[in-house]
Subunit: 356 residues, 2 copies
Amino acid sequence: MWEVTEEDLEPIAIGAGILGTGGGGNPYLGFLRAREALRKVGRVVVIDPDEVFDDQRLIVSGGMGSPVVSYEKLPQGDEEANAVRAMEQHLGYRFDAIAPFEMGGGNSMAPLVVGAKLDIPVVDGDGMGRAFPELQMTTYLIYGGSAAPAALADERGNRVILSEVTDAKWLEKIARAVTIEMGGHAGLASSPMDGTHCRRTIIPNTLRLAYRIGVAVLDARRAHQDPGEAIISVTGGCRYLRGKVVDLERRTTRGFAKGHLILEGTGDDLERVIRIEFQNENLVILEDGEPRVVVPDLITLVSTDRGEPLTTEVVRYGFRADVLTIPCHELLKTPKALEVVGPRAFGYDLDFTPIV
Amino acid sequence: MWEVTEEDLEPIAIGAGILGTGGGGNPYLGFLRAREALRKVGRVVVIDPDEVFDDQRLIVSGGMGSPVVSYEKLPQGDEEANAVRAMEQHLGYRFDAIAPFEMGGGNSMAPLVVGAKLDIPVVDGDGMGRAFPELQMTTYLIYGGSAAPAALADERGNRVILSEVTDAKWLEKIARAVTIEMGGHAGLASSPMDGTHCRRTIIPNTLRLAYRIGVAVLDARRAHQDPGEAIISVTGGCRYLRGKVVDLERRTTRGFAKGHLILEGTGDDLERVIRIEFQNENLVILEDGEPRVVVPDLITLVSTDRGEPLTTEVVRYGFRADVLTIPCHELLKTPKALEVVGPRAFGYDLDFTPIV
């Protein structure tokens, strides 16, 4: 058990922003919301997946929407809790714990806000081990969870329950349309499950990992050391390139931020040019026209000087960045998972070749 | 009590198409669906609003979508029943009777299909006394009914419950987005209410009125008499113009069929030219640049020779038509109702001047 307090939030926000691979919502906004919620209740209890009992009832919590929109439309903090309440009302029982939807930026903080508001623990882990753009892309669903019921809520008081869906892709389609109508951001509660399913399918201890990454970055800053190296030492990743952003195309389509970045190498990487394509999250690194790192392995940008995560909506022309790659969790590398989160699921005619 | 059998469906379809004022879904498709449902169960029981008890539980049933889309995408007949079932599951009780959503084309038949499939009676009446394009435009809601919960279902098995909405306009906004995602047509179950509210707010006996209109048209056809005159004698309306369609613009925007018709008079009406503007339903007749008949009074087109209702998606260039106007029900003429269904609600800077 881990009692997360206000002081833990800054490192979690930094680490989750890095694991968010460009998406998952703005980490700083998520931090502000979580801090406000924790100031009211003092702390939120985070439990290890091993501490979840077989017959406990869990609900997956997170935010849905385009990172670009939620940057403009500040999430109010009640959407996710409202979605969980809507689900409780629909099912007629209370949940024992929250399972985070994804680890990334604001969305890693949202479950902490919900746990604090509803006074129930949050399980240390998530359904992606990173961020992904679509709802069907969680290990909870990939490994047999039910796509319905799911609930969406906004800050005005609107609550929508998808009580039955044909499959997880229909969950994504309908929930996306509702989210857009709600203004581009909605709280999501989905995949109600028992403790057995949670323990079997959750990517464990990613909240603790985010915290450790954040602490390493903050320590490196204080010691005037290289924050990129500090991230690598904690995650087992590597630095693919150090360079600067020389081109950026980003458009918001149907609630997604799609586009690409071009980076030119600097220092040891001089004369190298890479292209990163993203759909909310960074999906592929191309160099010399060849894919070099592909989803579901993590591709993440941090500022060279401070190790600040550069999410899709934050990154700008001229930014100096380290492009880091981090191996994804084994639960994302199975044939079953790659069908849903591998390069082909994003329209790339490529097999997944893991970096490790 | 009235046991509606297969033989009653043709006149109901004709009459409901006429009361649908251009919208409400294709009456012939609605007829086919209702006939199929009734062939399985023999009959559906229609009760008078006076026969509804105070504490009975009613649900409003109908189809949602653009008439143009549902013409192309044949409704399967299970959507509306699925929506009612979704609502029963959400609320945890069964409904005693169905209250029709609108009287118009296919949507007047949908409650009969639901009543037949679920084996519960249908109340003779509806929430519009005609058809309107948006969900908030029912007397059930105008006179105090709750906009939530409401349920939408498609033919694939997707079910969505709007468990709480800020107001009826948010019900319309979110339900419209879900309907578009479901392919442009969805079954709707909304405004669960008790018998007292139903009796107080329903526009009564419109199913019987549709039947009487249809019988009059069929009799006139058989007797080689003027079907337009027959409709007028039953409804208390009048013929505004006899002419032919010389111009037609229709576009589908966000699930609505919007546009206008131009008709040139023939016979006694030679040299007159009128313009009818519609949004799924006909909203206003303009002549010499002046509004002459406006919503919520009924503006309906029938073919001159056969009295066939010419809905928005059926009418074509060159059609010969009688433009009939029928006074709307008193429940639509109050200040409260005109806020929601009067000309200003459709963007016309006009006061409502009733034709009677």
